[in-house]
Structure formats: structure tokens, C-alpha cells
Symmetry: C2
């Protein structure tokens, strides 16, 4: 999640297509990893990829219309919470009672988190970044800092 947003935000700063290798260097990881995490976004049409000379990844969406929740969904909606229920022994009534209590709490928290993610668009992230870049520039430093 954090990684994908990082990539998207980097891409939003300059136009050209970006190769997986370029992005991988910026994220300090491997090109294949980039392709993996971008696959979901491509399938949903948020980015486009092209092969051959001058190819690479391009933003293909209106940043003001895509929320962090959309990105989360594009990643396959992985579980948000660290603690899941014991799925073993579902016939045990003790387990059922425990799960019922935890499920309620977990569900509410998850719903809130998704709602919050749905309120933030990539464009907002970009705006925030530009603000940070502005104040940093005054100190004559680059985006990646020390």
C-alpha cells in the first residue's frame, strides 16, 4: 500500500513514462517487485504499461477521482487488521463467542479505515507533496533529502 502510493506520487511529479527499473531505484527495490504491485492498478486502468523503446508506466487516471481506497482495492483488498480470528475449531462455542465479540470490533474499525481511505484522493496527496516540496526548496534540498 504505502509502496504503491509512493510510486504513484513519484509518477505524478513528472510526465514521461517510467520504466520499472527507474521506479525500482527510487523505491530501493527490484523492477519485478514494481511490476507486481503495479499489476492490479493496470488491470483497473489506473496506469498503463507499454513495452519496447520509450515504454514504461504512465498514469492513466484522473488523480482527483481515485481515492486511497481505490488503490487498496486494486491491490486485492488485503486484510487490514493484524489479528484475525482463529479459524480452527469453528464448532467450539467458546471460539464462537470470542469471534463474535472480536468480529464486531474489527468490522467497525475496518469500516472506518476504509471510509477514511475513501476520503483521500491521489490529487490531495499530490497537493500535500507539492507543499512539502515548496518549503524544502527554500532550503535548497532535493526531494529525497539526505
Amino acid at each position: 500500500m504505502s509502496g504503491v502510493l509512493h510510486v504513484l506520487l513519484h509518477m505524478a511529479q513528472q510526465p514521461g513514462p517510467f520504466t520499472s527499473e527507474t521506479l525500482a531505484k527510487a523505491m530501493d527495490t527490484n523492477p519485478v517487485v514494481i511490476r507486481r504491485i503495479m499489476a492490479g492498478l493496470r488491470d483497473l486502468g489506473y496506469v498503463r504499461s507499454e513495452k519496447g523503446h520509450g515504454g514504461g508506466w504512465t498514469l492513466a487516471c484522473d488523480l482527483s477521482k481515485v481515492t486511497l481506497r481505490d488503490v487498496y482495492t486494486a491491490l486485492g483488498s488485503p486484510s487490514l487488521l493484524a489479528m484475525g480470528n482463529r479459524t480452527e475449531a469453528p464448532g467450539c462455542l467458546v471460539e464462537q463467542a470470542v469471534n463474535a465479540a472480536l468480529d464486531r470490533a474489527f468490522h467497525d474499525a475496518e469500516a472506518l479505515l476504509l471510509a477514511r481511505l475513501g476520503e483521500v484522493t491521489l490529487a490531495m496527496l499530490g497537493d500535500d507533496l507539492r507543499k512539502r516540496l515548496g518549503s524544502r526548496k527554500l532550503q535548497g534540498m532535493s526531494a529525497h533529502g539526505a
Copy 2:
């Protein structure tokens, strides 16, 4: 978490001290694992452990005063959310922007989850369990079911 609650609820159903081995069998795990997860609860005084003949684990708290949040704390307050921030490259402004957005959402969700856990006492869980046991008994089945 789920495991600890399972153990506590099992203990609340009968008085006697329970050996780690007994509890381990009920949880389908190893006695040492039981001792590990109970250690935090013991340190905070929620349960007591005794050695030798007739020893084992005993509940040592008012179940109506201990919330799921207390139990969570006793476990060392492990992170609740599955996705943390990339901590790498904290000097990168892009990362800072991403983290700022995610932190807000994560913090709210975590706070809600903790609040919900704080609303549920072990006694409530016990009540719920007894209700389930009641309706199950009518069918002539045991707590662990099929």
C-alpha cells in the same frame, strides 16, 4: 489475542486450576505456548499460576472489570493494523506525504478499535457463551461440538 480469550473463557466455565497441558489440549497447541501467552496476564495480575501438585492457572480478577482492551495490553499491545508505513527513506518527501495521509486514517481506526475492545468485558463474553451453551444443550451436544 483470540487464543488468549479462548483460554480465559474456558477457565471461566469451571473453577479448579488448569494445567498448561489441559489448556493446550483444548486449544490444540503446546503447553509452552500456553505459558507464553499467559505470562503477560500473570504479570498484570489477571491470572495466577502455581507450581507442584494441584497447581496450574487460576483466574485472579473480576471478570466484569477486565476488558478485551486490558487483555490486549497484557499481550504487549502488538500492532493492530496489517499495513504499517514504510520506515525506509524517511527523508523522502514523497514518503512523508504518503505517511501523513495513511497515519491519519490508521490512527483513527486504531483508536476506534481500542475503544470497542474497551467496551467489552470478559464477563460479557462469558454471558454470551452461556447463552450459546444453553441453546446448544437443548440439542444434547457438548461445548466443542462436532
